[in-house]
C-alpha cells in the first residue's frame, strides 16, 4: 500500500467543528542544494488544500514554499455537527493529489 498521504481529525464542539490535518509531503522549496551533488533539489510542494464540509468547499488554502515539511493545518467550521462529512484534499506543484474523508466525531 502506498504511504499514507494525510491524516485528518475532526472533532465536534458546540456549534462548530475543529479540523486538524497533517499532510505528508516533503515541501521541497527548490532553493535547497543537495549536500552530496551540489545540485539544486527541484521544488516539490503543496499548492492547494481544500476543506469541504458535506461536499461544499468552505476553506481553500493556498500554500507557498515557506510552509513546513509535512504541513500541519488546523481550521474551524461553523455549523458542522457530529456525523457530518469533512473532506480534505491537497494538490502539489507536480500535479500529485490526495484526499481523505472523515466524519465529525
Amino acid at each position: 500500500m502506498a504511504k499514507k498521504k494525510l491524516k485528518v481529525r475532526a472533532s465536534g464542539k458546540k456549534g462548530y467543528a475543529v479540523i486538524k490535518a497533517i499532510l505528508f509531503h516533503p515541501m521541497e522549496t527548490g532553493l535547497r542544494k543537495s549536500k552530496e551533488t551540489g545540485q539544486v533539489i527541484p521544488a516539490h510542494y503543496i499548492q492547494e488544500v481544500s476543506v469541504k464540509h458535506n461536499d461544499a468547499e468552505v476553506i481553500k488554502v493556498n500554500m507557498g514554499i515557506a510552509v513546513s515539511k509535512n504541513p500541519y493545518l488546523s481550521v474551524e467550521i461553523d455549523g458542522a455537527a457530529k456525523g457530518d462529512a469533512i473532506t480534505i484534499g491537497w494538490l502539489d506543484n507536480l500535479g500529485e493529489e490526495a484526499s481523505t474523508n472523515v466524519k465529525v466525531s
Binding site: 522549496t29 488554502v61 493556498n62 515557506a66 510552509v67 513546513s68
Partner: protein, 156 residues
C-alpha cells in the same frame, strides 16, 4: 445494478450543489475557486505580493488579530503560527515572513462558514518579522510579530 447510472446520478447531484452554492453567493468563484496565485507566491517582495494577492499593500494594524508564534524559534524549519481574529466578514487570512526568499507563506480563503482561525507551521530562513494579514469586507487588517530564529530553516 447499472453503474453508469449511479455515477451519473451522483455527479448531477454534486453539480447541483455547487450551482446552488454559487447562486446563493456562498461560493463566489473568484473567492473560493480561484487558481493558485502564482505571482504572489513567487514574488520576492512582500508589498508586491500583498498587492497582487489582496489588492493593497497597506493594512491597518489592529489588536483584534491574535498572532501567536514563539518569540524564539530554535528550529526555523518548523515554526508554529496561529492566527485568530474577532473581525467579522473575514474573506482570507494570509501569513507573510518578511525575511524569507518568498515572503508569502500561506493564504487561506474563507467562506462564510469558516471560523476566522488558522493554525499551521512555517519555515523561517532567519530571524524575521511575521505578519498576519486578514482581509475582511474588502479591507486589510494586520498584526506583526518578530520571531527570533537560532537555526535557519531554508537553504542548507
Amino acid at each position: 445494478m447499472n453503474n453508469q447510472r449511479r455515477s451519473f446520478l451522483r455527479n448531477s447531484m454534486a453539480g447541483g450543489l455547487v450551482a446552488v452554492s454559487v447562486a446563493s453567493g456562498l461560493l463566489t468563484p473568484s473567492r473560493v475557486l480561484a487558481a493558485w496565485p502564482k505571482a504572489a507566491f513567487d514574488s520576492k517582495d512582500t508589498k508586491k505580493s500583498m498587492k497582487g494577492l489582496l489588492g493593497s499593500e497597506t493594512f491597518e494594524e489592529t489588536n483584534k488579530i491574535k498572532l501567536r508564534t514563539p518569540d524564539i524559534a530554535e528550529n526555523g524549519s518548523v515554526v508554529p503560527v496561529t492566527v485568530k481574529t474577532k473581525i467579522t466578514g473575514v474573506e482570507s487570512i494570509s501569513v507573510f515572513a518578511l525575511e524569507n526568499a518568498r515572503p508569502l507563506a500561506i493564504s487561506a480563503n474563507m467562506s462564510a462558514k469558516a471560523r476566522p482561525v488558522l493554525a499551521t507551521r512555517i519555515k523561517l530562513g532567519k530571524t524575521s518579522k511575521v505578519i498576519a494579514v486578514v482581509r475582511a469586507d474588502g479591507k486589510l487588517y494586520g498584526a506583526t510579530k518578530t520571531v527570533k530564529v537560532t537555526l535557519g530553516g531554508c537553504g542548507g
